[in-house]
């Protein structure tokens, strides 16, 4: 059965029009709308734009060409950024985790490929591009264009962070750390790709 219409439907709230006010007859339709609204809010609340960065020129290839599992993260000519540490909740009322979407803009030199790798890990460690922790977006466009890839989150990619306060409020959040790395299959500083922008955001699973 459906849990929400997917949209927030405004309910009257001012005196005289509030169908949920004291002494007003309680209609099932109003409760259905309340539940639908709150569920839609929780679903949308699970999804947000997390991080963005401007890029740079890129010209170094992976050790094995176009194989992101061999990206030389510390080499010159690659673009590498830590995307931060972000907390995450399951999508709405379901058990699935959101999908991370990395959306880049850039251009590759003619006949070559610009690739952007996203690696997600529970902790801030050397990025280990192994399944299910990474995805790669590629473009061969020679003019600046969008290209993207998605990475479904799962428990294997998440860590836990405990929050405690002096007055006793506290709990646990799920979180992840992420690295972004860009490479170019030209492997030549005389033939560079341009990575313009990279944005990381969550979308529904």
């Amino acid at each position: 059965m459906t849990t929400t219409s997917g949209a927030y439907i405004k309910l009257p709230y001012t005196a005289g029009s509030d169908r949920l006010a004291a002494d007003a007859p309680l209609a099932s339709s109003d409760l259905v709308l309340l539940a639908s609204n709150a569920t839609a809010l929780c679903r949308e609340g699970s999804l947000r734009t997390l991080w963005e960065t401007a890029g740079d020129e890129v010209w170094t290839d992976c050790t094995t060409t176009d194989d992101p599992t061999t990206l030389p993260w510390d080499a010159s000519g690659v673009f590498v950024r830590h995307c931060g540490r972000h907390r995450v909740r399951q999508f709405g009322e379901g058990a699935a985790w959101p999908t991370l979407r990395i959306r880049a803009r850039g251009r590759a030199p003619s006949t070559y490929t610009l690739g952007v790798v996203l690696v997600v890990q529970a902790s801030t460690a050397y990025p280990d591009a192994i399944a299910p922790r990474y995805c790669v977006a590629r473009t061969t466009s020679t003019t600046v264009a969008d290209f993207d890839a998605g990475l479904p989150l799962d428990a294997a990619t998440l860590g836990l962070y405990d929050v405690a306060t002096d007055d006793g409020e506290g709990g646990r959040v799920s979180e992840f750390n992420a690295w972004v790395g860009a490479y170019c299959t030209s492997n030549s500083s005389g033939t560079k790709a341009l990575l313009s922008t990279v944005v990381l955001y969550m979308e529904s699973p």
Partner: protein, 361 residues
């Protein structure tokens, strides 16, 4: 005031059929609906401030404070600056934090600022042993009680946070992330929140302040008062975006191949698909130098829904916050794009920070 713990954050699943006509109303129905509304209001706060990789600079970001969201987490990622400059033991990154509402300020020396970010801040070091920049990255997180800042600052206006980042010679600050945290307590004395245990099996549903009316108040508050940050552009004061053109042009530092950079955002899709489906507010921190009284600067935000312009009037040469303006993102697709152009009547216009966040209509 009544409070209740939400030890395990979760979103109750309520099928539409739960409240169908003809079904028997049960105490659990009210309980679940209250818990669902609470989760919408305090379980998914979505503001963030993210700073770029830096070896030292001053950055700014804006935050909309409410009396419901209480905590935020600031994470600093420190690393070796590069393999060519081996790390010196003790080197690291520091972040000094202050907050202002434009009138009052919580300085970095205040006890309201976590000790790690006060004047003479703590040094966050890279991981050791390590031998490269990436292998040395280490994240350090600190909890901030943002609600405590309201003792000094006015919640009715956006707060601007200033992060002064300094790094020792062999260290870099890879990332600084501020993000809100959910609440693990429901407090019915706040603007949103209803105690689910008011709905007990076989108990009378009180038509007073803890009735379904309060559930709608809580859900409605969640719709209007849980802003999400769509874009946090932070070049910093030492490398701001620059324009000297008297007609709209991409800003230096924010262009590629001569065109303004285009940034993807995921809109707040709650009112259905529309070319003006997601209202936003946006603001910049700027300074104009080399201009005369009466001259102005202009920054234009272009989205899938159209354009909006901020008019900047302070030509004193000092860094200034613009008054926030409203615009729209398109929700026709699950994502939209934004881009910024600018012009100035005379002199040089620089932007050190800009931010776009949701502002539901």
């Amino acid at each position: 005031m009544t409070t209740l713990s939400r030890i395990m954050l979760g979103t109750p699943r309520l099928d539409a059929s739960t409240y169908a006509v003809g079904h028997t109303a049960q105490g659990s129905h009210g309980f679940a609906l209250a818990d669902l509304a609470n989760d919408a209001a305090s379980g998914h706060p979505s503001q963030r401030i993210t700073l770029p990789r830096t070896t030292g600079a001053t950055f700014h970001g804006w935050y909309i404070a409410t009396d419901v969201v209480r905590l935020a987490r600031i994470t600093v990622v420190a690393a070796w600056r590069s393999a060519s400059t081996p790390w010196v033991a003790g080197d690291g990154a520091r972040v000094e934090l202050s907050v202002t509402d434009g009138t009052a300020t919580v300085s970095s020396s205040s006890s309201l600022i976590p000790a790690e970010f006060r004047a003479t801040p703590m040094t966050f070091g890279p991981a050791y042993p390590a031998s490269t920049r990436v292998s040395s990255a280490a994240a350090h997180s600190v909890i901030v009680d943002v609600s405590a800042l309201a003792a000094t600052l006015d919640r009715s206006v956006p707060w601007r946070l200033t992060f002064v980042v300094t790094c020792d010679a062999t260290a870099a600050c890879e990332a600084v992330t501020l993000e809100e945290l959910p609440r693990w307590v429901v407090d019915d004395a706040l603007a949103a929140g209803i105690i689910p245990t008011h709905y007990q099996p076989r108990a009378i549903i009180d038509a007073g302040p803890q009735s379904f009316e309060r559930v709608n108040v809580t859900a409605r508050w969640a719709y209007y008062n849980t802003p999400r940050t769509f874009h946090c552009g932070n070049p910093g004061e030492s490398a701001p975006y620059v324009v000297t053109s008297t007609s709209y042009a991409p800003m230096g530092g924010d262009t590629d191949d001569g065109a303004a950079r285009v940034w993807t955002v995921r809109p707040y899709i709650l009112r259905g698909a529309s070319s003006t489906g997601c209202r936003v507010r946006w603001v910049v921190r700027y300074r104009i130098t080399g201009a005369s009284s009466g001259d102005k600067g202009f920054v234009r935000l272009t989205t899938g829904a159209g354009t909006d312009t901020l008019t900047l009037t302070d030509v004193s040469g000092a860094w200034t916050d613009a008054a926030p303006s409203s615009a729209y993102l398109s929700t026709v697709a699950p994502k939209d794009t934004i881009a910024f152009t600018a012009k100035v009547d005379a002199g040089t216009l620089e932007l050190s920070a800009r931010q776009v966040w949701s502002y539901p209509a």
